[in-house]
Symmetry: C2
Subunit: 449 residues, 2 copies
Amino acid sequence: MSSPRQLNLNAFIYPGGHHEAAWRHPDSQPGRIYDVAYYQEIGRTAEAAKLDAVFFADGPALRTNVEHNAGSGLEPITLLTAIATATTHLGLIATASTTYYEPYNLARLFSTLDHISGGRAGWNIVTTGTDLAAANFGLAEHPSHAERYARAREFVDAVVALWDSWEDDAIVLDQAAGIYADPDKIHPIDFVGEYLKVRGPFNAPRTPQGYPVLVQAGASNDGRAFAGKYAEAIFTAHQRLEDAQAFYSDIKAKARQFGRDADHIKILPGISPFIADTEAGAKKLEREFNELTVPEYGLKQLEGIAGKSLRHLALDEPVPVELFSDAGDVTDNARSRLQVVAGIVQRERPTVRGLLHRLAGARGHRVFAGTPEQVADTIEEWFRSGAADGFNIMPPYYPGGLEVFAETVVPILQQRGLFRTEYTGTTLRDHFGLPRPESQFARRPALAQ
Amino acid sequence: MSSPRQLNLNAFIYPGGHHEAAWRHPDSQPGRIYDVAYYQEIGRTAEAAKLDAVFFADGPALRTNVEHNAGSGLEPITLLTAIATATTHLGLIATASTTYYEPYNLARLFSTLDHISGGRAGWNIVTTGTDLAAANFGLAEHPSHAERYARAREFVDAVVALWDSWEDDAIVLDQAAGIYADPDKIHPIDFVGEYLKVRGPFNAPRTPQGYPVLVQAGASNDGRAFAGKYAEAIFTAHQRLEDAQAFYSDIKAKARQFGRDADHIKILPGISPFIADTEAGAKKLEREFNELTVPEYGLKQLEGIAGKSLRHLALDEPVPVELFSDAGDVTDNARSRLQVVAGIVQRERPTVRGLLHRLAGARGHRVFAGTPEQVADTIEEWFRSGAADGFNIMPPYYPGGLEVFAETVVPILQQRGLFRTEYTGTTLRDHFGLPRPESQFARRPALAQ
């Protein structure tokens, strides 16, 4: 008898919390966002709740509008290493850019995290959405979306080959004979692409997981094709069940087209839950946060999505629908965010202030206010109706927003048999139900008769 | 009354130990070199002895002759983060390459280590000596020594500017007013060099130390000039007191030429001590290690230094002196190692096997076999005679070689008043007696009348 299908739950860590005004709310701790103990505590909370992993977003540039925006900018692989030493089972997923890193350097950072954590590392592969990064790397302009994805494909191929370049049994460690490693089991990779050339071999052995779990979050067409080929887990943003179902089917179909087992690609929509004992209490909490937003900040962010000035809009007038219908000269990345905004505007006809509040929650991810039972219900509904394999939990405020989810929602999911009560494995691949990949360089013995 | 001048002692961590055959010796633990607990234990040993710091060498390529050579290849900043969480005062110094990193990425890794550790990070700035790295980064060949140093100067200027780009009081954290940071105190750096362009600003605030301690180890002319300008600590290799004295005077003079306080550049020669209760016992221990070397491995390494084939040499014949007198077509880096070898050959006229044993100890660094008292004596002699501000301790084997140094030599140095018995500060700058640098962007108020 096989065990029932289980949810995968990942905690997306965002310094003060995912709500843009979280740092102003008394339940957040913005003075601690450069204190490693803060992140280690969050990691321990996630592990006590048996979550699959914690995750950090990242980009190599200062966020916009820093005046009203508390982000940390700490480098996530380093930070996850510190969380690794404070936990034993929790998966550790860092975002890193294929556009602004060198494959050999990045392969080393993730390999070391996987070694240090005993096989708990995951890499959220991004091509970097913000064009602010380019000038920090000597480029006149951010490479085009298509070019970034072309490089990303080469980058992942090269990095995986580096991770595979030591066969699992390359270390001999024969002290008497003086043989440390078998050089025949350590391979140059001789990767030659259009953007990247990497000879190898790598300078460390394969990791406990073979290599870290490959995660992806791009919603563009290129992003989806990339995910279908490479991703083992996907973070995605959907406001509505039907959109999530369509995305889910599309990605699983793409994975099958690449000859992959569709169960080996876990789709995790974001959800930012405001939780209280009553629905009214949860909605009141959400309002409290929304009322702390700085409209000037929200408008600037929205201008970035819209690609045009919005200074002339009055906060308490309806958003002109036509403002968000033209996705003409924006990149594919911006277009996917623009589509989310356009959908909200067309369906809900909000005021400008109302739209800013809708987006303040989790930057286009789904915000849900309700009781623990209601949060568990919506998670179960999406999980059972082909919209999700699990969720990327985005607490509006940290650390309390994760604590309340862990203490009130997780037990309900456990009682319903949808979520583990104990870890059944030790690696992130174990938690996600993913196989440990064999090295592409492993010698296959001649087939037995 | 000022306290007497104090030694600075740094433990140079090398996976199985600094002796090339350490991994074959029963007192080493080569099976643990991918286990983070091994490094955390070494860190705790160093901290219990009140050492200033631990240090990792590094290069982005697989070491040569891996068949007989146990190195880890783990990425050192990540590894030091794990050591940071297991210690409270110990300094943490990682090597990283200015040739094969991007300034923005590397600035973030070290900044995060400094934040996580509460101000204990140091960066050993290297241009990468091995030409094996080039092919891992898509380059047809390793850039020339001069070109690497030219890029290194730009790289350090850019990285320090990034670290300085948030003034110390840039974070306002006024929750009531909704002001997180003061944008007037966060500066683009607009760095434009011949090799590098970096706009900035950085995406995280200044660190507890202002920025990590800048360490350097190049012995070439370019390396020394670079050290005089930038280095706050120097790792160096000398076999003889007079050579170390000449180097010490030269570097301190160069620092003064750059208008710097010569006390703010700590010179730390390497010493690899074999320690036993009697001198005879220590020399016997050294012989035990030397007898475990694999001559085929040592010869290959020596060929790399000599830049020519040495296969024809008989192990028990004297080294032909003329073999190491011609430093014609080698790079400056190789030449400095070649000079060390040539010096040994000319002074000691060893057999080939004898030379291989001399070099097996610590790759050209000074090996010393003696009692704890004798080790303390030589440390004191060099310290008091203008050859060293302290030492880079390179235990022949780990972890035992550090433990015996910590348990037997450190107490003698403490009794002599040469070394701290308690930490008197919390940061690596505190331990080294270095000031916390002011941000280059800090507004200076108008001078008071």
